[in-house]
Every structure is written in C-alpha cells, then in structure tokens.
Symmetry: C4
Subunit: 238 residues, 4 copies
C-alpha cells in the first residue's frame, strides 16, 4: 500500500467519525472507530479528548499496536482501545470496528429481547448478542477478549449500560452497520411502545432484502451522500 | 403542452422531492417521486445517487418509458422504477407517485392495525392497505404489479419493512398525501403508546372534514408555504 | 386608545404568532391568534395564506367585525374566523384567542382523559373541556357558538381531530396559555406511556403554585425572553 | 483566593448555565446554578429575567448572602434563592447547586419509581429522593430547608410538578450531574415505555463503573468539549 492509499484510508476513518456524530451517535468525547493498519502494525484510532464531530483530519488519529502502544501519531490514547485490538485480533475478516453510546442500542442492551427484521434497517441483522456480564469500561485485554468472544462472528454486540460495538469489512460498511443497527433498534422499540402486534418478514425474505441493500454500491451511495453533508461546499470537487 | 408548461411541471417535481426531505422523509439517497409525462411517453423520475434534498433542478430528473428505458435526461435510474411505472399504468387517474421510507409509516406497515381518522391529517384517509408479501425492493415489473394490485384504488400503500407509496392527481396533491399520511400514522401511534382509549370522528364527519381540507386551495396554500421555506429569499419573486 | 397604543398591541399580536411558531405550534399556513379591538369594532386577526412564523408586521393582520366582514387591512380572511368572533362575543373577560394544531393537544382531544396538574405547566389548568361533536372546520357562527359553549368559562378547549383553542385576558397571557397547555399535555402523555403510577399535587397545592407563576411578572419574563429569540440582534434596543 | 481565581470561577459558573441550556434544560428565564463564595460570604447566582443561555459573563451573576441579601453585583434576585442557600448551608461538601425544569426528570418526579442504573449515565446515581410534599416554588428558607432535608446526602432531588435540583463538589461536577441525571431518567423512562423486561448491573458493578467515569479527568473532558461548542471559534485560545 502506498502512502497515498494509506492517507486515503485515514481520511475515510476521520470522516467515519464525523458521519457517526452527524447521525446522532456522538456523546461528547466518547465514541471511536478504528481501522486495521494495512501494513499489519496494529490499528488506527481516534485520539482521546475530542468529540467524533471534531475528528477533522489524519492528525486526530494515531496508530497503536495490538498491545496498546502508540507507535505513530500523537494524542492521548482512548482507555477502551482493547475493544478494537481484541476484536481485530479475533476477527481477521474485520477491517474496522466502531464503538458508540447510541441511545436506543444502549437501552436495548438492557433487555433480553431478540432483534427482529423490522424496518428496512432491521433486515441487515441477525440477532446481535448482548454483553451483560459487566457494564465496566473495556480497559483491559481480558475484557476486550470477553467482548470479542460474545461478539463471535456477528456484526455487532450490545453492551449493557454502556453502548454498542459494530464491525465491517471496510470502514464504510462498519459505519453503515452502526447507523443501521441504531435505526433498527429504534424501529423495534417504537413498535413495542404501541402495543400493536408486530409482523416481520420471514428469514429468507429478510436475507434476500439484505443481499439487495447491503452491497458495495448501496453502501457507497449512502456514504457519498453523508460525506457531501459534511464537506463544505467550497471544498467539493465532484 | 408547451415546453414552458413541461418545464414548470418538472420544476414542481424537483421541488416535491425537496419538500418531502424538508418534512423529514429523506433517507440519504433513497426516496423518489414521479410525474406522468404529459405527452404520454412514460414518467419523469428523480435520478439515483442523490438525496431528495439534493434534487436541485430539472437536470436531476429523467424521462423513462413504462418499461424502464431512459429516453430523456441523464443519470442513473432508480432500481425501484417499477413502483412508479406499474402504479401509473394501472391508475389512469394518478398523475404522480411518491415512495419514501418515512419512519412511522414504515413501522405501521409491520402491524395489522387499521388507520383511524385521528388528528386533522387522519381524516384524509380511508384505511390504506399493507403490502406484506415481501419486504424486497420493488425492482421488477412483476413486483410493481403486485404492489399496484394491493394499492388498488387507494391513496397509499404501506410496505412492510420497507416504507410507503402514495399517489395524487397532481404532484402537489401526491406530496401532501405523503406528508399527511406520515402525520396521521404518527398521531395514531402516539395515542396507542399512552394506552388511553381513543375516540375518532364518525365516517361521515371525517369525510366532511376531508372535503373541507383536501381541496386545491388548501393544498396550494400549504405547498406555497413549503416552497417559500425552500426557495432562497434572493430568488423569490412573489 | 391612541394610535401608538393600538399599533403597540398589533405589534404584540404579530409577535404572538411568531412565538407560537417558535414553540412548535406552527402547521404551515394554519393557526391564528386574535385580539379584541380596543375600540370595540371587532377583532384583529392574522390574514390567511401565510404561516404563523411569517407574520412579520401589522400589515399581516386585519380587522374584522363580529360578523366576519373585513373592515380594515388587507389579505384573505381565515375560514375559521368564527372561533375568534364567537368566543370573544361570549367571553367579555377575554381579550385574545388562539387556535393551533399543536401535536399533543390534538391527540389528547381524541381521548376522554382528564388533564392532571403534572409538571410545572399542568398546575396552570383545571381540566379543559373537549369538543368532540364534530371535527369540522369551525367556519360558521353556529359552530363557533357551539365551540364557545363547550369552552364555557375555561382557559382552553381541545378539538377532536382538529387542534385546540385557548384564551387570555391579554395577548401575552393567551400565548403563554397555549404554550403551557401543550407542555402540560405532553408531560401527561409521556408519563402515561411509561405505565408508571403517576402522582400529582392536591388541588389546593396546584392552585397555589398557579397563583405563584401565572402572574403578570412571570408572564412578562417569559414573553420578553421569547421576544428576544425572535428579534434580530440588530433591531434590539433594550 | 485571588481576584483572578474568583473571576475564573465566575466565568465557569456563567458557562455552566450556557452548557445546561445547550443540553436542553433551559426553560426560558427559569433555571439557575449557584457557586459557594470561596471567601465565605454566601453564594453566587445567576440574576433573574434572563435565560440560562443568556448568561454571557460575570456581569450576569451576583453574590447573595445566606439570608438572600444581594451583597455584590446587580440584577434582580431569583425568587428561589433558598434552594441554593439552604442546600449549601446544610452540605459543607457541596460547592455548587443547580436547579432546572428538565423534562424527563420533572415527570419522573411525579412517580414513585426508583431510579435504576440503566445506561452509562444511570450508573452515576443511587436512587435520588423525591420531594412530593408540595409543588410550590421554593421561595422561603423553610421550604429550602425542607428540600435540603429531603436531599440529605444525595446528589440530587426530584421536585414533583416542578423540576430537579442537583449538587457537586465543583461547578463542573454539578453541571455534569444535572446532565447525567436527565439522561439516566430518559433511558429508564424509554425502556419502561416498551414494556420490555429491563436488566441492569448489580450494585457493585454499577459502582465500579461510576468510579471509572465520574472522575475529574472524565468530567473535564466532557466539560471542555461542551465549552468548545459554546465558545465562538474566534475566541478560542487552546
């Protein structure tokens, strides 16, 4: 990978933070997204003490190895780096990991309800697991491994009285998974509030819809749209 | 129809997209409204890859025939063009069709509840049908015909785990039908959440109110108001 | 009353519309507030076809007599002028009347629930009556009189599948009554959604709080605050 | 304490008001935060007649003694100064007191529900008491003492049909306690609306998380983030 390609990836990682904040998942200086270093040195992560909306450029990201040592870039490391390190270690298929305190996902984490394919976003998911052993910050490799074990081969995991973590095979997919999951939970939570009997597609139908919409092209369309919302008109080239 | 009249219609179709986005029915690059070509060649539809809020002018619309061929204008065609083509084919009284992923309508589509004339918006509707055979994208003429058959002679149809489609005898009416339907569902959903016993007007009273408010004059007042919100002051002539 | 005093009252009436819109009670071109003409000629009312947020000045108001004739000013008359004329006719203590389609009040109108003194806003009210005979527009003196009869000596009346009407001894009080009522209903509706058993102050305690907060001084503090939000900084004198 | 240190504290107190307003706890001219005068003369409090968002500088604060006499600064005193005076008198560990009408906290005050450690904010609290003897304004030392007695050694107290009061050992902690409490209640209220069975951490786990997040460093990170949102870019130095 060339320097130009690396920098393009880091620009995308910075943008992923701003998109998640734009989508309402910001929580002051909490929340972060990581990207597996393409040279195998570890992972790139937002630095601490700034909000996701404030990740302006590559200078707000740093490279840490899988043991948490900052090996490139500056800034204070997030305490919860083991979420990223241990998920990336256990999931070679995953290139990006996100962690936020999205409202509906956080309260859903405090229930035993299975997630249903309600709404266009719900069909993207099988029922993601819930990590309910502790609400502690995930500050140690041990807790990171426990969380990764609960995640298993799923797209996402809910953390009781804490938030959610979500993954993707690209930064873009990971970001959209986080957005879709929060929307799916909001839909299910809202319908539960009504007391109306809910219906949802049968599993084959839901999976077929997922295959239609969770595509590179579909993800790129949404990503590009969101990127336009966050790029000042004066800087637009396309 | 003169070129000037055609262009005025297309300007209105572009504005309909921006109004629906302003009213909260945008979903990134999803959602689209069509207008029956006055010369009988097919239908005008928003191009893909931009948001409803980004439909700035006639250049963002193209003409497709009822088999989906783009015959005027540029840009990528929406996959779900058969929603529009098949509804327009089966409903000669309909001049415009909208499809969005409005939140409350989408979750209402996952229930068997009839829509009640609750709220000033609720009185506009008889109980619109629900399309629950599949949550699939409507990408084929076959699915478009199935959806049109469920719609029947109604104003709108809810699509399970997908969204809603709505029609009108003009672009303006179609747009307001979409806005009113989402508001009507939100009112019914909210009252259901309280557990309070709900009351609504008897059918004759509801229909009389509908006749008072679903008028060309009433629709134009609201349309003009919304148009003012979306037209920069510097471009206003009236 | 001098011309200067009349104009100051009309400026206040124009501002009342903008405040109600700022507080979320706007509904495109619907909603209007009236003021009893101090010279006894009838009532001043917002003209039709503009939103409450668009009532920029005295030029957007006109004087109509109690039979609905426009006797000063320009612009199209609101169809629902009889709400104002008949309430003002039957209630000599009332100087101003408002009518909006506020969301929570409108759905509350579709229930038989009594309003409770829940929240700081709830203590302002005894249980306002509900007009549920018809959801029709109030376009005739007959319907205006029926509505005024339901209102009786109360501060406000809920209109099923329509909205609410509210009154005050001044424009300022009327405006705050509309704002407080919607807030009171929202609080009661929200607590009902939880299923929690609700408590509220006993009647004497609630009335004592009302006497503490529904004062000229308290109303003026809130009014002045809201006025500052709607007056461009460049036009501020105080 | 030097004049420079005093002024820094007052700047922080002014900012605390703007932060609470930014976080949605503003209610026109209602709501106020106090700081114990470091020289032991009484307490610094926002002046009346302006909104929390309008507390622009030290000039909007004044010093009152524990009997309510304004002894430095200008402006009208808030009627509810005894909330601050009596809590500060009875709680030597408390340096700052806030009082707002935050929506969810206010309705929660009308229930007998205990607060649970649901959500990352919920773990900050034991179950704060509810003051339900009266909904009256707290305008007298007697009522202030009754409220302080209900507060006891807790972080916060809910006031039925009124609002909430909250305390901290610093202005920053007090402000964050107010923000976290409203968020905690919103989470519990929302989950109750669904009817889903809720789970929460056991007491030891919740307290361990509290110890991880309710730290000077954690509070400063959030405070600094919020301060950046409210400081015009042109005035930023850091």
């Amino acid at each position: 990978m060339t320097t130009v390609e690396l920098e393009a990836g880091l620009d995308e990682l910075a943008l992923a933070h701003r998109i998640l904040a734009y989508e309402g998942q910001g929580d002051r200086t909490s929340g972060h997204v990581s990207w597996r270093d393409p040279a195998g040195r570890g992972l790139w992560l937002k630095r601490a003490r700034i909000g996701m909306d404030e990740v302006a450029s590559r200078a707000d990201l740093h490279l840490i190895d899988f043991d948490g040592n900052v090996i490139a870039g500056t800034g204070e490391r997030h305490h919860e780096w083991p979420i990223h390190a241990e998920i990336l270690r256990s999931r070679p298929d995953v290139m990006a990991v996100g962690h936020t305190h999205a409202f509906y996902s956080q309260i859903f984490a405090s229930t035993d309800e299975p997630l249903r394919p309600i709404g266009k976003e719900g069909v993207w998911f099988d029922d993601p697991p819930k990590f309910q052993d502790t609400c502690s910050l995930i500050r140690t490799p041990e807790l990171g491994r426990a969380l990764a074990a609960t995640l298993g081969s799923n797209d996402a995991v809910f953390l009781m009285s804490h938030g959610l973590a979500f993954v993707g095979s690209t930064i873009r997919e990971c970001t959209l998974v986080g957005i879709y999951l929060e929307a799916a939970v909001r839909a299910q939570v809202t319908i539960a509030m009504t007391g109306f009997r809910a219906r949802w597609p049968d599993p084959d139908d839901a999976k077929a819809k997922r295959a239609q919409t969770r595509t590179t092209g579909g993800i790129n369309n949404y990503w590009d749209y969101l990127a336009r919302k966050l790029t000042p008109a004066s800087e637009r080239t396309g």
